[in-house]
Symmetry: C2
Subunit: 252 residues, 2 copies
Amino acid sequence: MLPGTIQVIPIHGMAEIQPGDSIVAAVLGAAQAAQLAICSGDVLVLKHKIIAKSEGRIVRLAEIKPSARARSWAARWKRDARLIELALQNAGRVVRMSKGVLITQTPHGFVCANSGIDVSNVDGGTSAVLLPVDADASARRIMAGLRRKLKLHIPVIIADSFGRPWREGLVEAAIGVAGLKPLRDLRGRRDQHGYTLHATAEAVADELASLAGLACGKFERVPACIVRGFCYQPGRGSVSQLLRPPERDLFR
Amino acid sequence: MLPGTIQVIPIHGMAEIQPGDSIVAAVLGAAQAAQLAICSGDVLVLKHKIIAKSEGRIVRLAEIKPSARARSWAARWKRDARLIELALQNAGRVVRMSKGVLITQTPHGFVCANSGIDVSNVDGGTSAVLLPVDADASARRIMAGLRRKLKLHIPVIIADSFGRPWREGLVEAAIGVAGLKPLRDLRGRRDQHGYTLHATAEAVADELASLAGLACGKFERVPACIVRGFCYQPGRGSVSQLLRPPERDLFR
């Protein structure tokens, strides 16, 4: 292996997660079955949906009574009124509601479509999965569980796929972080030409989350991967460090 | 190596690129010196700055005469008026110019800070690097050069670090693509529960670009990496497929 090589190792064979299931047990069981030894220096990246499922964040759409607002907007844009209702109920604030697209800011502070609510990879379209209540806390719990079982510090990133202004396609981004600094802050450091960097902090937690997009895919029932060889900066970490304060944001 | 593992291999030891230098020669020379054999299935991810340098897209700041607009705004926000002037000259349109941040849409269609112009990693602060004129064409040329030398199809991604609304930190994104489909379009496919996906296309070219952020860093003079083991969809590819048409965008 050449120096500096990063490996992204998908964890195959994980069982479908049900409410109450242990993510740590599912990850370690599948890793063991695949003869994948989790090592010091590894980072665990998890798709958020298994976390949400394990935490029981599943809602049956038949139980949702859409408001008049949700019904009329959904009818106009051929959307599912129950899903729109659920997204509005779970929004801290509506950012845009136009052209058939509902962008909200969630109580966590994420700006995303439909408050992060999704019906794919749940049960065929009759239920929706909400975001975890506090994905940082979920990541910390999983990290603590790994430490108990493995006696290792394994940082955990919880990833969800987000759309972006101006660009097509979704990319995975971090919604929960534990055990590493989500930003690699380069401000004040000098480049090799002696120039001092001013505005450069790199969102490494989001770049790590992106690896789940490449290595896990949407269909292969691979909701987790191990990143090996990335020289992370240890720290408590929190996704809140990745959220721009409103007063510094130009696109509210 | 476990099935599905992706490797990101930084290419160390590349010489500093000068105007007119061949990127293909620099990459292949460094790869050979590092005993890194580029293989079928590999994707080459390049930081844009070496492309821009090889194409002579370097401007001496001393030669820039800032307009009154650039001077007054730069003075107010303690910015370099020459850099602001250059960014305005290279902007197709100003998207935001507020709170010390200048966001423009470049003639390529990218929405980014300072028209993508950067003074880090150039010559210590006296010169700036502009974006390549047409990074898709640059990527195609490099891919064609690799095909001539190696007799292999090696897709090429050219990456630059972009800020984002709502989130802190930069992430690498694709500004030029050749040889693969930048979007993995999953619309119409069914998940394992039989649910048909509606809105899911994944911006894999941007996720591949992110790997350069993790594997190359800003200081290690590693402007290129090889991604091995990612099952890309071959295609002509173009970054234009990643740019959302204005009529579908809610954040212009």
